[in-house]
């Protein structure tokens, strides 16, 4: 597991050993948190940052001071380590939190758009860490492409569409109740791309939405852009893994459970072949045999 856990274990005997905190210590602790607020800054590139990280590791009193500064600012400490640096993230309602309305204007009025932007982030994470092991393995680096994420979601949607067809369900939503439309349909019917006058990506298309998510995550220090192929290629950073594993994944899971939906898996990867290989008639349905 993360080193963070080991360090919190050492916190218990610390109080007796704590010396008086000087303003200089507080300044250093705040400085470390300030480094953490620059997510694209790599610890190895900055000597002072590396120094403060070492002090956090070696000096429990200093570590508690830095944690307190972070907590006071409305930040959650995910991990403090040489690889991830001072990985902090915004607590809910913190001034540092990102709000959907600021992220994309249209989402305020259009719940469909709001869903698409949220799903884009979820899909980026799911494709970046396709197996549960990938999320747990600290050394794992995920790679995604914008077009790949879109195709991945479309594939899953297609699978659902086919399943609905097999069962003879009519998935066309009732006209006066757009909120009851199945979520996958929203993505499936949005166009994947579109020509624009200035040759930029059409912002409302699904690749536009995924591209925006990837660019935003890059600014958050979660992804690094590695190329322009397939709509843009990216690789994940240690921070993204922490954020998805410790924050986003569990928060979304909690919400899902609250809705009464309990996904049952045995902990192994679900992106696997289905048991009934008749499903694998790839020629006919062009769908991947995703479990759901």
């Amino acid at each position: 597991m993360s080193e963070h856990v080991e360090w919190s274990d050492t916190e218990a005997p610390a109080p007796s050993a704590s010396a008086a905190v000087t303003p200089a210590d507080a300044a250093d602790a705040a400085r470390l948190v300030a480094f953490g607020l620059q997510p694209k800054l790599q610890p190895a590139r900055d000597q002072e940052y590396t120094e403060l990280l070492r002090r956090y590791r070696d000096d429990p009193a200093f570590a508690r001071l830095a944690d307190a500064v972070a907590a006071g600012l409305g930040l959650v400490v995910l991990e403090v380590s040489p690889r991830a640096g001072m990985a902090v993230t915004a607590a809910e309602d913190s001034v540092f939190a990102v709000r959907m309305g600021d992220y994309a204007r249209r989402t305020a009025a259009d719940s469909g758009d709001r869903f698409l932007h949220g799903l884009a982030h979820l899909a980026v994470a799911a494709l970046a860490f396709p197996r549960p092991e990938d999320l747990a393995d600290d050394s794992y680096i995920g790679r995604i492409t914008v077009n790949g994420v879109d195709a991945f979601v479309r594939q899953a949607c297609r699978r659902l569409e086919e399943r609905a067809e097999e069962q003879g369900d009519n998935t066309d939503p009732a006209t006066d109740a757009p909120g009851l439309e199945a979520a996958w349909r929203i993505w499936a019917r949005r166009s994947a791309t579109g020509a624009t006058k200035d040759a930029r990506r059409l912002a409302g298309s699904t690749t536009g939405i995924v591209g925006k998510a990837a660019a935003f995550l890059t600014d958050s220090g979660f992804l690094q852009r590695t190329g322009d192929d397939h709509g843009g290629t990216y690789r994940t950073t240690a921070r993204y893994q922490l954020q998805v594993r410790d924050m986003a994944g569990s928060a979304a899971m909690a919400e899902l459970l609250e809705l009464g939906v309990v996904p049952v898996t045995d902990g192994t990867a679900s992106l696997l072949p289905a048991d009934d290989t008749s499903d694998l008639d790839l020629v006919a349905d062009a769908g991947l045999p995703f479990h759901s």
């Binding site: 990867a269 679900s270 790839l282």
Partner: protein, 509 residues
Amino acid sequence: MTSPASTDSVPPQLSAGPRPAPGPAADEGLARRLRALACTAPLHDLDARKANLAGEYSVYGMAEVALAAIDLVTLNMDFDTGADHEQIVARLIPRIAAQAPHRPVAEHERVARWVLENLINVGSVDRGFRAVYGTFTPDGSYVRRDYDFKLIEEVPGPGGTVYLRTTDEAVNVLVGALDTDVTSAQIAAEVKLEVLINRGRLADAQLAAEQARYRTVQYSETLRRALEATRRNVRAVDWLNAVPDMIAEALDHVADRYRHENAILTNIRKARDETEEPEHKRRAAELVDIVKDCIRRHTQLQSRLLEAGPLFRAEQDRQAFATPTTTSGIDLYGHLVAPVLPLPLERAIRITDAFFTHGTGLRTPVSVRVADLVDILLTPPVEREHLGAEMPEPDLIATPDDSRFSEEQLAAAKELLDLPADAPRRLSGLLAEARDSGGFDLAYLVALLAIHAASPAVGTAYRQGEEKLLFAVDDGTDLDDPDFGGADLIVGTALLDAVGMAADRTEAA
């Protein structure tokens, strides 16, 4: 009923009248037909709305242009990409021009663009169409439903370009074969074609061949999607049995079709060459084109299938040799994506919102001091470097000329071998002449060129459209020469039909 306008309108056909039998089967068939009907509506709409365009556009048959556009896009859909927007516009113009020859070309182009944009439905955010129809639910209540569909969709191509593809709906509308299985429909179309050719009914044969081509395109499109999906995630596929089976099946299928279509090709070629009537000849020639195109597409498909195996193995290596680690307990796809997608929107949005809120990290709020603001506003914009860094001048080193023969010798040899087409010569004579004029070196070069001509580069000459070709033939006579041994080749020049070859090349392409 469809089209850019939003969907407040009520379908007239169901708003009144007696209630149909509420049996689910009957109703389902009705819903399917209503949806099929809806797919044609955008085309009718074009003709209905052309009156609203600024200008006198009623001379144009918009539905006809639209169908032609769908045809063009379908036929230009390649394995990797789709059809190019500009190319489609350019190819539409001749037909539009034929409808109104006296109008300016700019107007023709405008019509082409208008039709194409309306088929994509550029105005709507989904870039698709929506039709409203009504059905009875199992409990007997009447529900209006939205049917969303696209006719031409825009897909991302390499390098950020946008290509056009026709959707399954459009292909179905176009060929009029709703609810059919791709494979069987293809076989049916081909059997029909063969029968028609045997009976000499070429007009119908052409129609059937065109249908077969649509099927071929549709088929390769399905396979393309499958292969692309596999490339994305090797774990998602059973690679031990199912995928190799699938590839083998597809290869068999391609081989089968290839044999079949080659047989058809031979038949039609015979029909083309034997028939007297010019109209039949022309139709047969067109048919040859279509079947050739089918074969080309199958070949493309086959090469793609052959690449699939190595791709799997590479992916397998990459993923299988990673060390197993403990699981974190969260399987993002299985636990989140898969359960969220089937949920109704209003519930799914709570989960995606939660993920978004906790998964986007932090943003440091921007606060600007007035003093800084003034500075920022007064700073001139930074000149952007459009051209990038300056390229260093390459340092070139002249390589010494170590050719065996000089340019003059080559020219002399070429001149010697520039024989009239009707008068081939013996190599021995050529060698003697070369030795007299240019010594041993020239003779040696002539000998080399003659040997080279024994296997003339026919393919290259064909591709480059050359008018003549040097060739050499061995008729069994031994070469009697002080320096060289072997056969006394007959060297001559063959004249090639450059014009005919050029026509043939275009036909093949």
